[in-house]
Amino acid sequence: MLKKLYDWIDERLEVTPMWRDIADHEVPEHVNPAHHFSAFVYCFGGLTFFIILIQFLSGMFLTLYYVPDIENAWKSVYYLQNEVAFGKIVRAMHHWGASLALVMMFLHMLRVYFQGAYKKPRELNWIIGVLLFIIMLAFGFTGYLLPWDMKAVMATKVGLQIAEQSPLIGGVLKTLLSGDPTIIGALTLTRFFAIHVFFLPAALIGLLVLHFYMIRKQGISGPL
C-alpha cells in the first residue's frame, strides 16, 4: 500500500534519486565506529543537529501555552508546568536540550579543531561553524529570559551590561536589545521572544543548510 503510493509519486516526480543523493552515500572507514571505536568523535555534529531538531519541535509546542508579556509570561509558564499534562516534560526537554545542544556543539568543535579539519579547503565551513556557535549562544541568552522569573531578569540584566561594555556602540547596542535605555521590561521581553522564536531560527536554518552543503561538497576530512 505505502509502497504503491511511493511508486506512484516516484514515477511522476523521481524522488528516489533525490533522497539517494542526500542519504545514500558511503561512510569512509575512518569515520565508522564499527571499524575504529574512536570514530565516535565524528558523531557530535550529527548529535547537535538531532538535538536542534528536538529544540525546534519542543519549542513549537511550548508556544501553544506561552505569552511574551510581563504580566502573563510567568503565569503562563506556571500554568504549562503545573496544569497541562506532560507540559512539564515538554518544557524540560527544551530546557535540558538547550544545554545539551551547546555541549554537543562544543565537542564537535573540539574534534574539528584538534583534528585540524578546519584547514584548507574547509576554512569557509569553519567560519560558518563559528557563526552557528554565536547563534546558538544567542538562543541560550534570549531563551533564558522568557520564563520571566527573578533569575531570568537578573541574568539578562548582567548580560545587557556586558553588551553595554562594548566599545563605541555599547550604549546603543544595549538599548537595541532591551528596547529601552533604562528599563528591562515589556519591550525587552517581546524583543527577546521575537529574536528567540523568529530571527534566530531563520538564521540557524540558513547557516545549517550552508554547513551541510559544504560537507557534502567537500566530503569528510581524511584520517589523521
Binding site: 501553544l64 499534562a85 506532560f86
Partner: protein, 166 residues
Amino acid sequence: MPDNDNKVTRRQFLNYTLMGVGGFMAAGMLTPMIRAAIDPVLKVKEDSGFIPVGDIKDLTNEPKRFDFKVTVQDAWHKSEETNTAWIYKDNDKIIAHSPQCKHLGCVVNWAGDPNKPNQYFCPCHNGYYEKDGTNVPNTPPIAPLDRFEVDVKDGTIYLGKIIPVA
C-alpha cells in the same frame, strides 16, 4: 525451516532493528509534546458550583431577568463575568432559562417583540420561543432554550450549570 525464502537477511534484520529503535525514539520525543498539545480536549473542567442569583419572593409566573456574576478561570487568567437568566415559577417548579439563542447564539429577551408579549424574541433573525422555552416552529431556532440547574435554599435561588433540554 524451509531454506532461503523464509530467512531474514542481514539487511532486513538491520532495517527492522533500526526502524524499531528509531520509531521508539521518535515516539518518546513526540508523545509528551502531543499529549501536552491535546490537553484542552482531555481536561475535565470542574464546574463552578451553584451561584446565588436572587430572592424567591421576586419570582412570578412571568419570566424575569436576573443578572449575576460568575468567576471564570481562563487558564492563567481569572475574571468576573456577568451572566443572565430568565426565571419564572411554574406552579411550584422554578424554571431558569439561559438567554442564549439556539440558532446562532444571540441573546434572547422575554417579550422582546412588543407584538408577541408572551414569547421570547431573538432579534438577530427573528427567532421566537414559548414561555417554557420551546422554539416556535418555522422560526430559525432549532431547539428549545437551555435551562440552568436550579436549587433553592432559605428563600434564595441558586443556579448551577446550563443543561440543554433533550
